[in-house]
């Protein structure tokens, strides 16, 4: 068979398979991300069937997937929301960083993977999945609850933290020393502040630059701008993903709403490729040795995220049941943990086992998170009741 024909058949089979997995995921009420990872694991390196000939496409497509994931994250929040969110949640946000980055770093050190891997794994365990959490809160009808603004503002803080973290990570992975690393941090903080000010004051001009009443022109301009900004950011060592995130923040108002509507299907497509490629590049035979550590991380970081949410909600004067709901809602990890691990593994600066550990961890957390959010109320109610009956 012709080379192109094989590639098309393989790609078609992959997408069709993902479609079936995605349908299954929403039907059983979990995020499709873990299923895409499993799909990727089943094929490729060490999997059942090696896929060959589609790497040039999938490699670039998964890069675009990361850019689109972060662009849409930026579009989701307006600059004003980010600033007020930061003002309201900085103390809870710092507790979040301290409690949830530490377990990842600790396990990496325990495994003797070195400081860079420690920073990578810290990011993987820190960042909650805003995609999964927003979906779960909506599905469970909790958007009007008093703990929900607390949960959402923690997510806002995490996303801003990503904008500082990713450039540091990029610099470290590129092998830049401490001084160079500090330099890029300076550049990125400067860039973030600049973009926030720009977006607050002159957001409509940035929006006008990409906006067009014609959907075709709009899509091309938007995608073009995103890839340009991402590419330039990558060249400046500030990480392509952060460039796209900042562009997303700068685009505001109705342009942002339209852009989200237009790009969501594209994001879903390319992000799916990204998750599959991550799974493909992970050797399933590397999972059993790291499984105990993945389980340890699951137990530790489920607890620490729960405590984070509990404390943040308590600070806002929310009762115990609401605190428990806030804690459980935050547990899910997903797409951004894989983005971080993907950056690290792609650079080749960390051990391949990190991919296996991250995959296993995210697989578990993306499933445990929504389940925890669902069962927290009955479980907490049962705990309250049994304590009450023990007293009498």
């Amino acid at each position: 068979m012709q080379h192109t024909a094989i590639a098309l058949i393989e790609l078609g089979a992959v997408f069709f398979g993902l479609g079936i997995l995605g349908r299954l995921a929403w039907r059983i009420g979990v995020s499709p991300v873990p299923l895409y990872l499993i799909g990727g694991l089943a094929f490729g390196q060490g999997g059942l069937i090696p896929l060959t000939g589609i790497e040039p496409f999938t490699e670039l497509a998964s890069e675009i997937g990361v850019v689109l994931l972060l662009l849409l994250l930026g579009l989701e929040y307006s600059a004003a929301e980010l600033v007020t969110g930061l003002r309201r949640s900085w103390s809870a946000g710092l507790i979040d960083v301290a409690l949830n980055a530490a377990p990842g770093a600790l396990v990496a050190v325990m495994l003797g993977w070195g400081p860079t891997a420690a920073i990578v794994l810290a990011g993987v365990t820190y960042i909650s999945s805003s995609g999964i959490i927003a979906k779960v809160l909506g599905d469970l009808g909790r958007l009007g609850n008093r703990e929900t603004p607390v949960v959402l503002s923690i997510l806002v803080f995490e996303d801003l933290a990503m904008a500082v973290y990713l450039p540091i990570l990029t610099a470290l992975l590129a092998g830049v020393g401490l001084v160079g690393g500090l330099g890029t941090v300076g550049v990125s903080i400067l860039a973030i502040s600049l973009v926030l000010v720009l977006a607050l004051r002159y957001g409509r001009y940035v929006s006008a630059l990409v906006d067009s009443p014609d959907p075709e022109v709009f899509l091309l301009r938007l995608l073009g701008a995103a890839l340009l900004v991402a590419g330039v950011a990558a060249q400046l060592q500030v990480s392509a993903a952060v460039g796209a995130f900042l562009l997303g923040i700068a685009i505001s108002g109705s342009t942002a709403t339209n852009a989200t509507r237009m790009l969501t299907p594209l994001r879903d497509l390319f992000a799916a490729v990204f998750f599959v490629v991550f799974g493909l590049n992970t050797d399933p035979s590397a999972i059993p040795p790291v499984l105990p550590f993945a389980l340890l991380l699951v137990v530790l970081t489920t607890t620490t995220k729960f405590v984070t949410g509990w404390l943040a909600a308590r600070k806002q004067g929310i009762r115990r049941m609401g605190r428990a709901r806030a804690g459980a809602a935050l547990i899910a990890r997903g797409e951004f943990s894989i983005v971080i691990a993907g950056l690290a593994v792609g650079s080749g600066a960390v051990t391949g086992q990190l991919a296996a550990l991250s995959t296993t961890y995210v697989l578990l957390m993306a499933i445990i998170g929504p389940v925890a959010a669902r069962v927290v109320e009955p479980v907490a109610q049962w705990a309250v009741n049994s304590r009450a009956s023990a007293r009498t």
């Binding site: 958007l143 009007g144 008093r146 703990e147 997510l155």
Partner: protein, 156 residues
């Protein structure tokens, strides 16, 4: 107002009985009415989507008595003038006829300031406004005039 980053905003108040009632306004303009759980005020127990028309109907259902109250309040200063809200029963002689045909002001010196129909307020109705059964007619006048007006609406 509480921002819900990425979704929209939420506005709410707490009632005397300790329940929160609020409205979530989503980015796309959709609105949702929320009511908190009596056992756990942090949690909502009821939520319903409302489109533009439904929100104004709800606002009028709740606001109509307020309108009459406000008018009464304003007219208290003018001695001898009060506001009444009278139903136009189905089958009244004016059911299906225009407001002008009642010749209300000429006959009783009473002014019809608003008509409330199906929860929506029609303020300052013109003489060509056509009455229907179950309309609530808001009128301003002297007590005597209003009694006469009631008589006209009922018996012609």
């Amino acid at each position: 107002m509480t921002p819900l980053p990425g979704l929209g905003t939420q506005q709410e108040f707490t009632t005397g009985s300790g329940r929160r009632i609020g409205v979530i306004t989503y980015r796309d303009g959709r609105m949702e009415l929320i009511v908190s759980d009596p056992r756990d005020p942090d949690k909502i127990c009821a939520a319903t989507d409302l489109n533009g028309e439904e929100t104004s109907t709800l606002a009028n259902l709740l606001g109509a008595p307020q309108l009459v109250g406000k008018l009464t309040e304003q007219q208290r200063e003018v001695t001898g003038v009060t506001t009444w809200q009278l139903p136009l029963v189905p089958g009244s002689p004016y059911d299906g006829r225009a407001l002008g045909e009642t010749e209300m002001r000429t006959r009783t010196s009473v002014s019809i300031v608003a008509v409330i129909r199906d929860g929506s307020v029609h303020p300052s109705p013109r003489p060509d406004f056509v009455f229907a059964g179950d309309d609530l007619v808001v009128m301003v006048g002297t007590a005597e005039g209003l009694r006469a007006a009631n008589e006209i609406l009922e018996n012609g």
